[in-house]
Amino acid sequence: MIKFSKVGKQYPNGTVALKNVSLEIKQGEFVAIIGLSGAGKSTLIRLVNKMIDTTSGELIVNDVAVDENLKGKALRRFRRKIWMVFQSFNLVERTTVLKNVLAAKVADKGFLASFFGYYSKQDHLEALEALNKVGILDKAFIRADQLSGGQMQRVALSRTLAQDPTIILADEPVASLDPVTADMIMTDFKRINENYNITIIANMHHVDVALKFVNRVIGIRGGEIVFDGPSKDVTEEVLKNIYNRELTADDIMFKKVEVV
C-alpha cells in the first residue's frame, strides 16, 4: 500500500513540484496519473521508490517509511520490490534480450557473481518465463537493439516481472509507441495487474489510453491533486480543469475519443 500524507517537494532552486499531496493507493490497484507536462507527474512517481526525496510530509510504502533514514542496504532491499518502467525503455542495447532481463536479478548477487555476470539455472528459467508471459520468448537470444519499440518495451516489462515486484511504476510507458503497440502494451499491463495483483501506477500523457485501461485516475495540476476517482467519472469538465484548456490532438492517441 502506498500512502502519501501532505507530501510536498521543493527543488533547491525554489521550484515547487508538489504541494500538499495526500493519497492512498491500495495493493492491486491500476492507477493512471494525468496532467500537463511539468505538473508534477514524474515527481510523484519518483518519490515512491525514492529516486527523489520528499521535502515535507510523510510517505509510507509497503509499511516502510520513505524518508532520509532509508538508505544503503535497506534502500536497495526496499527497491527490489518496486520497479520502474521508462518511456525510453532503458535497455542495454548491445546485449541480448535475455541478458537484459537477467540484469534484473543482479542486485541480489554477490560480488563475484556480478563481476563475472553469472546467473544460476533458476535465474535463467525465471527470466525466460517472464519473457514468455509477455509473448517474446522467441527473441530471447537476439540483441536488444534489433527489436522494435513495442518489443523493447515488452522486454523492459518482463525485466520487471522476473523479479515479482509488488509495485510497478510506469513513467510514460507508451508515449513513444504507435497506437497499435501501445494498445498491446497497456493490455499486458492490465493483464499483469489483474492476474498477479501488482499495483501499477502509470504516468500517462495520452488521456484516452489512460481512460481505456485503468480503473482509477488521478489528475495533477500545478503540483496539486485536482481529481481522484474512477475513470468513468472523468468528464470533459474534469479534464478541462486538469489541463486548464481544451483537449488538443496531442493529448489523444486513438482517433476516436470517447470520454465517459
Binding site: 527497491r79 527490489r80 525510453s88 542495454v92 543482479v106
Partner: protein, 290 residues
C-alpha cells in the same frame, strides 16, 4: 575613346596600394555591396611569416647548425646507409632472444597497464562520478604523468631497479596505464546512462549497475583501445633497450657502437616486419570489434 594601358609606374602604385593598405586601415578591408558589408580579418600572414624567420635564425644559432660539416660528412652517411641496406641474415640467431624479450615486455605491460587503467578511468568519468572534486584531480594527475616521455621513465627507473627489462616493463606499464585510462574515460562519457539508472533503481549497487549496464557498451571499444596500445608498445619496447632497459634495443645499440651496420640493417628489417605484422593483426581485430 580607346583606353591606354596604364604605365608601369602607375600599375606598381596600384599594386602596392592594394597590398599594403589592408595593414593600416580597416576601411581598406571593408567590402560593401547593396546587401551587406564584409570586413576581411586582419591579414596576419605576413607577421606570422616574419616571426617564423626570426625563430628560424635563433634556432640555427641555438643548435649549432653547421651545414659545412654536414655536407662534408655526407659521404659517411651514404656509406652507413648502403651498409644498412645490406642486411646480414646470419645474424638472426643472436637476435632471437632479445626479440622475444621485446615481445614479452610489450604484452605484459599492455595487459597490466590496461587492467590498472579500468578503475582509474571509472573515477575520471564525469557521468559515473558526478563530483568534479574527484574526477578533475584524477584527470590532472594522469595528464601530468603522461607528459614525461616513456624513455625518460625508463632511464630513471633503471637507477631504481637496475639495468634490465624490469625498468622498461614498469615504464611501459605506466605509459599504457595513462593512455588507456584517458581513452577509456572518454568512451565511458559517451555511453547511454539510461540503462544504468534503470538498474540502479532496481536496487543494485553502483558496482553492479556499472557491470551490467555500462560494461557491455564499452567492452568492444576497450579491447580496441588495448590493441591500439599494444601496437604503440611494440615500437616503444624495441626502443627502450637503447638506454639499457631490455629487449632488442640493447642489441641494436651495441651493434651500432661497433659499427656493424649490416647487423643493424638486419635488426631493422626484422623490426619492420614485426611492426607491420602487429599493426595488420591489430587493425583486423579492431575492425571486428566495432
Amino acid at each position: 575613346m580607346s583606353k591606354e594601358k596604364p604605365s608601369f609606374f602607375d600599375r606598381t602604385k596600384i599594386v602596392l596600394r592594394d597590398t599594403l593598405t589592408p595593414y593600416v586601415s580597416k576601411k581598406a578591408r571593408t567590402h560593401k555591396t547593396d546587401a551587406f558589408e564584409v570586413v576581411e580579418p586582419y591579414p596576419i600572414g605576413l607577421y606570422v611569416f616574419i616571426v617564423l624567420i626570426i625563430v628560424f635564425i635563433l634556432a640555427i644559432d641555438a643548435t649549432n647548425v653547421d651545414l659545412i660539416m654536414f655536407f662534408g660528412n655526407l659521404d659517411n652517411m651514404w656509406r652507413i646507409i648502403s651498409r644498412l641496406f645490406n642486411p646480414n641474415f646470419g645474424f638472426i640467431g643472436r637476435m632471437w632472444g632479445p626479440l622475444i624479450e621485446t615481445i614479452q615486455i610489450s604484452i605484459g605491460s599492455t595487459i597490466i597497464g590496461a587492467i590498472l587503467a579500468v578503475p582509474v578511468a571509472i573515477f575520471s568519468s564525469s557521468n559515473i562520478v558526478k563530483k568534479s572534486i574527484i574526477y578533475n584531480p584524477v584527470r590532472f594527475i594522469m595528464s601530468l604523468i603522461r607528459t614525461i616521455p616513456v624513455l625518460v621513465y625508463a632511464a630513471m627507473l633503471m637507477f631504481i631497479v637496475g639495468l634490465g627489462a624490469m625498468a622498461g616493463f614498469i615504464a611501459l606499464t605506466i605509459f599504457t596505464f595513462t593512455i588507456v585510462a584517458k581513452m577509456l574515460y572518454e568512451i565511458i562519457e559517451t555511453v547511454d546512462m539510461l540503462p544504468y539508472e534503470a538498474i540502479e533503481s532496481t536496487g543494485a549497487n553502483k558496482f553492479q549497475a556499472i557491470r551490467t549496464a555500462i560494461v557491455p557498451q564499452v567492452l568492444g571499444s576497450y579491447l580496441s583501445i588495448v590493441l591500439y596500445n599494444f601496437e604503440i608498445n611494440i615500437r616503444s619496447a624495441s626502443i627502450i633497450g637503447f638506454v639499457g632497459a631490455g629487449g632488442i634495443g640493447l642489441l641494436l645499440n651495441d651493434r651500432i657502437s661497433w659499427r656493424q651496420y649490416e647487423d643493424v640493417g638486419m635488426i631493422l628489417l626484422v623490426l619492420f616486419a614485426l611492426i607491420i605484422l602487429v599493426e595488420t593483426l591489430s587493425r583486423y581485430l579492431r575492425k571486428r570489434l566495432t
